[in-house]
């Protein structure tokens, strides 16, 4: 019996290694206005499959440490697609520092530190300049723990 348990544990560990030690999922949602039971308009998030220009979408990345050891230096990076524009101030992630890139993901810094060159003049980067969002976890992600990162973008 003991031997059998060990075999099963080894098999589980092997499966986890094959899939990675973190389980990472992304969803994309949009706001929908609906009328509640009291007849008032409310908004709720629904899965976004089809969008039109001008509509906001919200990307949520959830990640869980499915290994038996803590994960260090967890960094989540999400590109902002060509036809999407980051919604200023929307990036969110508990216990994480939020950085941005304006050069296609080569370098990252906080929003206030980024500059871009336009028509030969240096100016502060704006939301529309961002090509990637990055979340840097400040602490380890303990075994079994999970975290969430989120940002919104508008379809151009």
């Amino acid at each position: 019996m003991k031997i059998l348990m060990s075999v099963i544990l080894i098999a589980l560990a092997t499966t986890a290694a094959a899939q990675g030690h973190l389980d990472v999922r992304t969803t994309v949602q949009k706001q929908e206005v609906f009328v509640n039971e009291e007849g008032k308009s409310e908004t709720r998030l629904v899965p976004a499959e089809v969008v039109v220009p001008g509509e906001n979408v919200i990307y949520t990345i959830t990640f869980r440490n499915v290994s038996a050891e803590p994960a260090d230096n967890v960094v989540i990076t999400n590109p902002i697609a060509e036809n999407l524009m980051y919604v200023d101030g929307s990036a969110f992630g508990p216990g994480m520092e939020i950085l941005f890139s304006v050069d296609g993901g080569k370098t990252f810094a906080t929003a206030g530190e980024l500059n871009v060159v336009e028509d030969g003049e240096v100016r502060k980067a704006q939301a529309g300049d961002f090509t990637h969002v990055r979340w840097v976890m400040q602490n380890d992600l303990a075994a079994g723990a999970q975290g969430t990162a989120r940002f919104a973008a508008i379809l151009e």
């Binding site: 990675g20 030690h21 973190l22 990472v24 999922r25 992304t26 969803t27 994309v28 206005v33 976004a48 499959e49 089809v50 969008v51 039109v52 220009p53 001008g54 979408v57 990307y59 990345i61 990640f63 290994s67 050891e69 994960a71 260090d72 230096n73 967890v74 960094v75 989540i76 990076t77 999400n78 590109p79 697609a81 036809n83 999407l84 992600l141 990162a149 379809l155 151009e156």
Partner: protein, 337 residues
Amino acid sequence: MDTANTAFASAFAWTRRLFLLFLCCAYSIPAGAVGTAVGTVIENTAVVNYDLAGAPLTIQSNTTTLSVAERINVTVTLQSPQVPVAPGDSARALLFTVTNTGNGTEAFALAIDSLIAGDDFDPTPAAPAAIYFDTDGSGDFNAGDQPYTPGAEPDLLADQSISVFLVNDIPVGLANGLTGRSELTATSTTGVGTPGTVFASAGDGGVNAVIGSTGGEAQDTGEYLVSDVQVSAVKSQIIDDPFGGNEPIPGATLTYSIVVTVETAGTATASTVVDAIPPFTSYVPNSITLNGAAISDSIDADQGEFDTSGTPSVVVRLGDLTQAQGPQTVEFQVVID
């Protein structure tokens, strides 16, 4: 002849309605204003880097997919300034631009309404057609322009515009200064509704079509102004022959004088004197004056020129004239061949 300098007395006068000209505004629509093209697929994958037991590792998330539906939007923009008309005029046109500001291909039904509240008179939509396309792209309504046929709306690509005329007749018996309005409405043939209304599978390639901020339709209103300004132009000439007399013989100089006067209230806009050089005479270079001030022969920034592009003519632009400005005198000289 009673006056020495009017021996060749052919002074004549006429009163007519001065042609009132107007300029069409140039316009352009910034490219790419309409947004992401219908059918575009937007994928997203997050990447997570981490260390486990000192070893750097990378994992990707699943990939989400968004597809871009058709957003229906349209604008209608009046291009004509207020159009001066006279009572009884027929087929007076207002120029509009209809622009597909959605992100897919769309057709728009067109409608005219000349019974607009808040004006002084109702123009009468021309029969049998009152809506035309500016087929020749001239900006002016003319014989080559094709009428709009309901049900045969042209497809407009995203960001594409089309020029449309509303054509009205002006009722008789209207006083100067009265205004009449006419409105063009463009309505998506897919449908209208509050922004966000979805027409399932009605977009390009069978995607959903969604009503945008304009509700699927748009309109703009143009205005006619009754401006039946009476302008008189009186032309006279003085002959000086080479022998000190006033005979119209070869070598004699003719000094023409055209006096233009606004006789009624109102503004004669963009008034222009165009006078052809008579046969068997030659224009005397640099002889054009307006109210005594010289005007050069060349086509330049001043108010006139000697135009030889067609029938040789003296052209002097008087601009917007009112009664208050008094008579405007244009003079030039020719020599009898």
